[in-house]
């Protein structure tokens, strides 16, 4: 599968500790919320990168192995994700689980496509928040739209946007994927 990233770091052929040293350095140039793809051949880089990301507060998305190259995906920490939520219609993860059985339910996942690729609710549509303005017409306005992201912040912004565009039934799912315990799938 192909996964979209904002920055590509080539750490192939480098032995530990260099893949992490370089990733840490590259991370400084990323905007919060952006995704870096780290290509490495050192097998130990997977566990180390995941542990490093956790310790540094970044979001480790996953790793794909292709022809002996490990492609790691990490999303830079976004400090303003804890902002106040403004969209008035909010549902919990449990309420979304119930709604998944309804005929007119649409789940819209507004996380970055790399986040979506590794882990999402089966059947969810993927439109990253940054692309929503151009692509909102891909969603049927007559349906009930449940917007999810990782923690409920990006989906809050997306839900507001959809309401402005005339969507009548839009719910922000809080907290979203970070605590989702139902079924998930990946693009692999």
């Amino acid at each position: 599968m192909t996964i979209k990233s904002d920055v590509l770091l080539d750490a192939k052929g480098l032995a530990c500790p260099m893949p992490i040293v370089k990733t840490k350095k590259s991370m400084k140039d990323l905007e919060p919320g952006q995704v870096i793809e780290v290509q490495a051949t050192d097998k130990g880089s997977k566990a180390d990168l995941a542990a490093w990301a956790k310790s540094a507060g970044h979001q480790y998305l996953g790793t794909i192995e292709e022809n002996d190259v490990l492609k790691h995906y990490v999303r830079k920490a976004n400090e303003d994700e804890e902002q106040e939520k403004k969209h008035p219609h909010v549902v919990s993860n449990d309420e979304l689980t119930q709604a998944l059985n309804e005929e007119d339910t649409v789940v819209l996942d507004v996380r970055e496509s790399a986040e979506y690729a590794f882990n999402h609710i089966p059947g969810a549509a993927s439109i990253p928040l940054g692309e929503l303005d151009e692509r909102a017409d891909e969603i049927d306005q007559s349906k009930t739209v449940y917007v999810v992201c990782r923690t409920g912040s990006r989906s809050d912004l997306a839900a507001q946007k959809l309401s402005e565009k005339g969507f009548a039934q839009v719910y922000n799912v809080v907290p979203g994927m970070s605590e989702w315990s139902g079924d998930t799938t990946s693009n692999q």
Partner: protein
């Protein structure tokens, strides 16, 4: 400034000499908890190298100045970097473990167990980082190997130094915790490779079936290797009596524990075999036999001279696993509360069957971690 390296050989000596070393392990917390350089005389600190990239000032006062501090990582790269940073802060007692835990896992220490009756010698190869034990029987220019690891050069070079030709190579069972070097050594030296047939139903190469009661002579002296069917850890597990003195118990009986019966997915089926082997077949053997197992789990199992060996009679007195009267209690002990299974044990079994042939680098990865073949 180049950082001082400590070799795995030097490290092994420090473990065996019970020196008081301070280990700064810079792998992830998970890796450290899973597996580390063991010694009750060592002190440890674990902080991942990626938490030290911005500097080591914060940990300086937690490191001793009056004894050796050895920085350890997975392969020896990150430990070099951290050791260098510590030196730049003025520390002079810092070393980086050359090759890291990978090299540590592969290091073999040959220890002489004893002379044999007719002039031969018996060596135990202690794989100190992983707790694997293998054996070489030498007699009159011939050598036999038992449970060899994949570090095949070590055995071949050792036999050459002793002017001996390796003629027989044995595996007591199909190993699940480490990759056997037996087949490769046998191919290189044109030796006969023996495997218990009941463990070898799926292997894809030729081997000599090792049957109960089989005698193999090493050299033209009478060092018989007597095979003894002893199922339990695997269905085919076979023990050997060497020179009427030594019982090679494979993964059936260890010094302070017994073999686990679940690594081929058959715990319930094999627990009866395991009990019969330990409580009946082994009971009939002489108490004077010296048990030489294929593993040790804790450093306490090493004797003063670095060997792992104990008389069978002593084990019948002291090994908890040999002293459980109640059969149901025994069944419970070996099927419930088992330790986690060894890393990649399924792939290791397939490699030992010849079904897959991973690259050397992958073989190293597969063997990472402790052996975990026992249940206490």
């Amino acid at each position: 400034m180049t950082v001082k390296e400590m070799t795995t050989k030097q490290m092994a000596e420090k473990v065996l000499d019970k020196e008081n070393v301070f280990i700064l392990d810079v792998r992830t917390e998970d890796a450290f908890e899973d597996w580390k350089i063991e010694s009750e005389h060592f002190d440890y600190m674990n902080i991942p190298y990626f938490d030290l990239l911005d500097g080591v000032e914060d940990i300086l006062d937690q490191l001793p100045k009056d004894r050796e501090v050895v920085v350890v990582c997975a392969k020896g790269g990150s430990s070099q970097m951290v050791a260098e940073m510590l030196e730049e802060e003025g520390m002079t007692n810092v070393y980086s473990l050359e090759g890291g835990m990978k090299a540590w896992s592969e290091h073999l220490v040959p220890v002489k167990v004893n002379d044999l009756k007719d002039g031969g010698e018996l060596y135990q190869f202690v794989r100190i980082g992983k707790g694997c034990l293998s054996y070489m029987v030498l007699s009159n220019g011939e050598a036999a190997l038992i449970d060899a690891t994949r570090m095949t050069d070590v055995y071949i070079d050792f036999a050459n130094e002793k002017n001996a030709q390796i003629t027989h190579v044995f595996d007591t069972h199909l190993h699940a915790d480490h990759i056997s070097g037996g087949r490769q050594i046998a191919e290189q030296t044109k030796a006969t490779y023996w495997l218990p047939p009941k463990d070898a139903t799926e292997v894809v190469f030729n081997y000599q079936p090792l049957e109960d009661g089989e005698n193999v002579k090493i050299g033209n002296t009478t060092i018989d290797i007597h095979a003894l069917y002893s199922p339990g850890h695997t269905i085919g597990s076979t023990s050997f009596v060497v020179d009427d003195q030594y019982l090679m118990s494979g993964d059936i009986l260890f010094i302070d524990s017994i073999g686990r019966p679940d690594l081929a997915g058959k715990a319930e089926d094999w627990v009866g075999d395991l009990r019969e082997t330990l409580y009946e077949r082994y009971k009939e053997l002489s108490d004077e036999l010296v048990v030489l197992p294929a593993h040790f789990m804790i450093m306490d199992e090493l004797n003063e001279d670095g060997t792992v060996a104990e008389k069978l009679g002593t084990l019948f007195e002291k090994n908890h696993g040999l002293n459980i009267e109640d059969e149901n209690e025994f069944r419970k002990m070996v099927t419930e509360n088992l330790p986690p299974q060894p890393n990649a044990y399924q792939e290791i079994r397939e490699t030992n069957m010849g079904k897959i042939t991973p690259e050397e680098e992958d073989q190293r990865e597969m063997e990472i971690g402790p052996n975990r073949c026992a249940v206490r």
